[in-house]
Subunit: 231 residues, 2 copies
DNA sequence: CGCAGCATTGACGAATGTCAAGTAGCGTGG
DNA sequence: CCACGCTACTTGACATTCGTCAATGCTGCG
């Protein structure tokens, strides 16, 4: 259980910030409000497990700060990362009683969490909550469908281009990508080895499509050419 | 629109068979009943498109007879089949207003269909319907997660073994697999070429793990050894 | 300042894709 | 009922992409 492994100070109770709720509607906040749930904040250290595949599904999580990977393993250790979760993202949602992927903090990470039971109870009487749950799961499904196309049919370079554009869309603030994950994580997300990822990035650098300020600080210099490469 | 392309006789109105509803609860029937929807039956010829990627999502489908593939295409024609749907399976569910994959009949196929609008309306007032929708989407998501692991990390032989066991589970009646799809479909599902699929099947045949009665009629002779190969 | 990961790069190998030829099965029409 | 032709399938030879193994370099943190 994650509450035992954490070394952070005692979890802090906090209000979902209502100032933000005018936006496209953050589904986590919406659900928490409808459920009358007070979300709890919680922190995990880099590489700490948040939940494991097969464990009972007890909470719904939203990232405040940090980043999370969710993955499946084969018996011999081969790993497929299904998704990276970034600040604002919700994860851990799962209508089945058990998690089907393992979740780990990629860097030191703080999440808000809401007990699954309260949410279920709210969904049983409130169709808005129920619809939000459906919508979030459907959003994960869309991502998975796109990712199956990538994994099954794209070349290494196309995968890396797609990855960069996805991250650019999701976390570019200053026109600069600050990747929280290492090359191995990227490889395990894209179905490649870390060496192949590194070679593709170097090639994009050589072509002037991106520039490294450090290995994980990347500036995209030509998004159009990158888009043309993602197939 | 599929109603224009169909050459079958006029759609026939029918009742959802209530005799079957004691079973593990068929979610399609459950939803139709809660929605007060009378499902319509409809037929498609082999290789006929049921809906296209990007088209408005107007119906929920359940297969009565036949088989359906849902897929995405890259611009140059590379195809990734996301799922095969067999009798009893529901497909076309999508909380977004547009389909994100194309659906085609693999063989001559009959479906029951329920208008999406009626279902949405029912879900807006009935939490049971809403939960069924969520559960079905979650079921698709689980399959997609498993399939990402296959596409990203399994070898050709492991993919084929996994495929055979999946089909065995889903459509083996007489201990014999009657595959409705061709080798190319299998390849596009597994992220392989049809030749690689064929070679893997031949190898399993040589090893005595399966037997062909014809190219698409396969008897599994040693499920245990096959399971050991799926990684 | 030095160590410990992380990343890059190179040489090579293996798995799978590509191209091509040949075969078998099946539906159609004579 | 048989012959034909089409399509799907199999098999082989070869090409290519990506993975593996190994050496080296970088860098960020203590």
């Amino acid at each position: 259980m994650h509450t035992q492994t954490i070394s952070a100070p005692a979890a802090k109770v906090l209000d979902i910030p209502h100032a933000l709720k005018a936006e496209p509607v953050d589904p986590f906040s919406a659900i928490a409000r409808f459920s009358g749930v007070i979300a709890t904040e919680f922190s995990y250290k880099k590489d700490e497990e948040i939940y494991g595949e097969g464990e009972p599904s007890e909470y719904l999580y939203q990232i405040s700060r940090g980043a999370v990977r969710t993955y499946k393993l084969l018996s011999d250790g081969r790993r497929q990362i299904g998704a990276f979760h970034l600040p604002g993202d919700v994860f851990g949602l799962d209508p089945s009683p058990e998690h089907r992927l393992t979740a780990e903090a990629i860097v030191d990470t703080t999440v808000r969490l809401a007990p699954r039971r309260s949410i279920e109870k709210a969904a049983a009487s409130n169709v808005h909550v129920a619809r939000h749950l459906w919508t979030m799961t459907a959003c994960d499904l869309r991502h998975a469908e796109d990712h199956m196309l990538l994994l099954g049919r794209k070349t290494a370079m196309e995968r890396v281009a797609t990855f960069l554009l996805e991250m650019d869309r999701r976390l570019a603030k200053t026109g600069m990508l600050a990747l929280p994950m290492c090359r191995r994580d990227i490889g395990d997300y894209l179905g490649l080895t870390l060496e192949t990822v590194s070679r593709a990035l170097s090639q994009l650098n050589d072509q002037g499509i991106l520039m490294f300020s450090s290995a994980r600080q990347i500036a995209l210099r030509n998004r159009q050419r990158l888009s043309a490469m993602e197939a």
